[in-house]
Amino acid sequence: MAFFLQMMLSGMMLGGVYSLVALGFVIIYKSTGVLNFAQGQLLAIGALILWSFLVPLGLPLWAGGLSAVLCAGILGFVTERLTIRPMTGQPLMAVMVMTIGLAALFDSLIPPIFGGVERAYPSVFPGGGLQIWLLSISYEYLCSFIVALAMVGFFLYFFHRTRKGIIMRAVADGHDTARSCGIKVGTIFSWVWVIASMSAMIGGFLLGSIENVSPALSAIAMRVFPVIILGGLDSIPGCIVAGPIVGALEMLAVGYGDPIMEGGAGEVMPYIIILVTLIFRPFGIFGQEHIERI
């Protein structure tokens, strides 16, 4: 029983970080209607940029963090300008293929630029852990979870209460309608990519401090897909709820499946969640079902 609860708990803590990463996907999907397959690569690049500021340059965390957020923003801006903006007016599927191409390009560019080895951040979070009854949580997971929740809360506020966030939702609803209301859709696209890239960087930092900082972080982001499918592609509350669920299921699969399956159960669990969700509740828990008319 303690083992079960322990697995659940650490899974849910990991899931908090998944929620944050999923947020990047949802922000772009909500505002531009595109599922960004290069989000994982943006995350890996962000994490590696932060590492370059912290370790080789030796900046303190606040300075390195600010510069890395800035760099991530610039990266998102440039990416959107060079590759997504020229696709305006093309079918959304073509834009999605564009992000797949971007993912392939980034995946091959990261190792030559940053090197392919695994590294670690200087310890940011306190070591050790919290002991509650039979369960233990390391402070790393706990802090990541709290940071992730804070970020999700911030974006929830941003999309529902601030002017820019509401404009973004208007753009998502219909480009032409938004334009006729006097919104500059292109500028909003830039903003969306900048914000998504920044949130990816923060997710990369958290994932990187839990695991290792390496180009392989981009593959970890692939495991976030079930979170956005389960929660609904266009739902921020969905991210918060689905993240811990997926994290817990994944850890349970690792705990109970690995001994039977000779390892790797945690890797396939996300995809099984995707398939089951798509068959039984395709638009996720909170996703909006699109009813089309001619």
């Binding site: 191409g101 392939a104 560019l109 190792p111 090197g115 390892g263 995809y271």
Partner: protein, 353 residues
């Protein structure tokens, strides 16, 4: 319908109207192409012969993608996974039960088709990004099934499995040259079949679903059934491609069918021009030639200090990503569109229109 025919060429009989090959130039080019593609590669040396065999196999796999992505408009990110099903089914059937390759190939093709249909089932309720997710899941679940129990007992897990050489009336296909002839014949037959599917009722239904699924449904097309047929055909082609791949590579292992391969196949189709058979073929050849160039220039790049060795390793991916992005921005209709422009120019020459 191809309207840009040379001046003075008219269809006077119904069979002329539905012919695939219409003019003498068509015939000459096609026959020349087939003959050259069969006669030249064996004399190119071992390296380029393997290149040609792999190209034939990849063309078959990408033609499968052409049905589901090109014609039916559903992005599939699982083609390499389906290819793995075909390859492993062939290898397991041949090594465990000892049946002939010529029986194993159709069974593998059919089985892969069924697997593709199973993963296409979410298309009942979803489309677009959601369906892309389902095929992405297919890719990972298939490779996981191959490498883990209970299936790893037969598939050899991460170590892979050895395929016995196929035989035909006592002749064993041990050499690459002999296997090249088999793959190129299969390739041309499947190209012909794919070209024809696009002109049949299911093919026209695919295009209708791609262009507007709501309008298609209103016209009385059963969208779900139509998408499943597209997935089945795509699976059959992937299965045949895998089946051809297994005896060529002999020892098949899961890393031959990774996620990256699926993305490459999709990229090849996009670069070629997704809605046409010629595009699929051209895309495969174009990207594979570029890859070959990066292999040739690899050692030159390796001398760059610090980043050289990484750059040489990842050059293929960099070039591939850049080419896909460039094509999507500057020529979304792919190589095929340029070829169409050239054809109409040639037919109408010396007049401009």
């Amino acid at each position: 319908m191809d309207v840009s025919r040379p001046c003075g060429v008219f269809n006077t009989r119904y069979d002329l109207d539905i012919a695939i090959i219409r003019t003498k130039t068509h015939w000459a080019l096609l026959m020349g192409g087939i003959l050259l593609s069969i006669l030249i590669p064996p004399s190119l040396g071992a390296h380029w012969l393997s290149w040609c065999i792999e190209t034939c196999i990849v063309i078959v796999a990408v033609l499968g993608l052409y049905f589901v992505t090109g014609l039916c408009g559903q992005i599939s990110l699982g083609q390499a996974g389906f290819m793995a099903v075909g390859a492993y089914t062939t290898a397991i059937l041949m090594s465990q039960t000892g049946i002939s390759y010529w029986l194993a190939l159709p069974s593998a093709a059919f089985f892969t088709g069924i697997v593709a249909v199973i993963f296409g089932l979410p298309s009942l309720r979803v489309k677009g990004f959601y369906l892309a997710m389902a095929t992405l899941a297919a890719q990972h679940v298939i490779i996981w099934c191959i490498t883990h129990p209970p299936f790893s007992k037969w598939s050899g897990g991460f170590d892979g499995i050895t395929t016995p050489a196929p035989t035909f009336w006592g002749f064993a296909f041990h050499s690459h040259t002999s296997w090249f002839y088999v793959s190129v014949i299969f390739m041309w037959a499947l190209i012909f079949f794919a070209k024809n599917i696009g002109r049949t009722k299911p093919g026209r239904n695919f295009v209708a679903v791609r262009d507007s699924d709501l309008a298609a449904e209103v016209l009385g097309i059963n969208i779900f059934y139509c998408k499943l047929i597209a997935f089945f055909l795509s699976g059959v082609y992937a299965g045949i491609a895998g089946s051809l791949f297994a005896p060529y590579i002999i020892r098949i292992a899961p890393e031959n069918f990774g996620m990256d391969k699926s993305i490459w196949y999709l990229g090849m189709l996009i670069v070629g021009g997704s809605g046409s058979v010629v595009g699929a073929i051209a895309g495969v050849i174009f990207i594979r030639l570029l890859l070959e160039l990066t292999v040739i220039f690899g050692p030159t790049i390796q001398v760059i200090p610090v980043v050289g060795s990484y750059l040489a390793n990842y050059l293929g991916g960099i070039v591939f990503g850049t080419v896909v992005i460039m094509f999507l921005i500057f020529e979304p209709r792919g190589i095929n569109h340029r070829w169409t422009i050239f054809k109409s120019w040639y037919r109408l020459h010396p007049f401009s229109y």
